[in-house]
Symmetry: C2
Subunit: 261 residues, 2 copies
């Protein structure tokens, strides 16, 4: 299957059911987003949660209630069809669907939250090895003991992703990631995992086991799974997210991006 360079072409292929793979590596240079859809009665609190926790929850866009478009992210973008697979969460269980046409409600508010794909792209362009990508694995993720700032029913501990580098590459990765605040920005920690409550680096809570080489230092970034945990903790009657790895691809250039919500 082809690689798409234009976000709108990729979204069209997703909408038409032609593209159904993970979105990593697609539409290089453009921001991809985590999706969270909540009924309006939860929206103000969740917005406050994102604003209070900008490192795990960098907001790319928020829709009007019932509105399937967020024009700042792409004129043609349709939130209900342009993600390959959605997770519909109800009562602590979830099912997977490929579009939201039948489920859509007039009170749904959509939140699009930055993810780390564009930052990993800039590492690769800088010839910094990203071990889990080279090994064909998912990035390892860990629940820390860092409490996020609560907003209404939304709360929980910060989830981090981990990438390991030589010290020299860790410095470059720190500097490069800081330039992409909408892709989680600079790391939150490096070195001893116990300092942030991670007990067993070999056994992540999500994703695949890490690749660590001699002399590597683990570096930890805030992760977009954090808001998903906060939503689970808030127990809304319904919430819809993307299926992990299947992101919403936007028209926003990853470098020098600035978003007015």
């Amino acid at each position: 299957m082809a690689t798409f360079s234009e976000p709108s072409a990729l979204r069209r292929a997703v909408r038409e059911g032609v593209f159904d793979r993970p979105t990593t590596g697609q539409a290089g240079g453009f921001l991809q987003g985590n999706l969270a859809i909540l009924p309006k009665k939860y929206a103000d609190d969740f917005l406050a949660y994102c604003v209070r926790n900008p490192k795990p929850c960098p907001l790319l866009g928020v829709s009007e209630p019932g509105e399937r478009r967020i024009e700042a992210l792409g004129l043609d973008l349709d939130i209900a069809t342009d993600v390959p697979f959605y997770r519909v969460h109800r009562d602590g269980r979830h099912e997977t669907v490929s579009d939201l046409d039948e489920l859509w409600r007039d009170d749904f508010v959509s939140f699009v939250i930055g993810c780390s794909f564009s930052f990993e792209e800039s590492l690769q362009r800088a010839r910094i090895p990203v071990h889990h990508i080279e090994a064909g694995r998912n990035v390892p993720m860990y629940v820390t003991d860092i409490e996020t700032r609560r907003a209404g029913p939304f709360h929980g501990r910060m989830v981090v992703s981990m990438r390991a580098f030589s010290p020299a590459d860790a410095i470059r990765a720190t500097v490069l990631s800081d330039r992409q605040p909408l892709a989680h920005g600079a790391p939150v920690h490096f070195g001893d995992p116990a300092v942030i409550g991670v007990r067993d680096l070999r056994n992540p809570d999500f994703g695949d086991a890490p690749v660590l080489r001699d002399g590597d230092v683990p570096v930890f970034w805030a992760c977009g799974v954090t808001p998903q945990m906060a939503i689970r903790n808030a127990r809304p009657d319904i919430a819809i997210t993307h299926e992990p790895g299947f992101m919403l691809v936007t028209d926003v250039p990853a470098e020098g991006a600035s978003i007015g919500i």
Copy 2:
């Protein structure tokens, strides 16, 4: 004795013999420089050495032969009088003088090389504790096993300065220092000192013993002592530098500085 906020006022006080202290903390927000003066026959090679090693030797300015001014660094600036104390190196020995009026030669070329003072200022503005400053000590410096790139007779190993931080502050210090390439930029290493050939962190080669607290990570930056060692290795018949700590204060704003040599 007063603190000067204007670089030109400080330089005037130095020139008139009124100011004879280290320049740290003076003229906040403006770049200070290491000074190296060499006869013209060495100048091309030393210029090449600086250009090939921009992290230890970020060039702020180079004079024409015999010229005591570098206008880009300050219209009134006089290289031969505006540093509190100079070191005159001859035959492996040095003497200290307070101006160069009598020693000045028509073939002298002056090089002004960035130093870390303005970067330390930005750490302090960001409320990142800088242990050696709080303890009233000089920064610890170490000769590494990293060979710099040779140019003609100029060569030698890189000297680094060390500051220790919590991991979270080390990340912020890395990002902040990267924004000041003329003050040595981002670190060259952190963590295990042995990786860069530093055997005993407690016993620096220059400066004072380090302050290290529980959980601190040592972070290493390229240091302006590197070009001094390269000059020593080149054995010119004469070379003049500043007395350590007594820098040339320029009119160049530290943040967003851009210099056309």
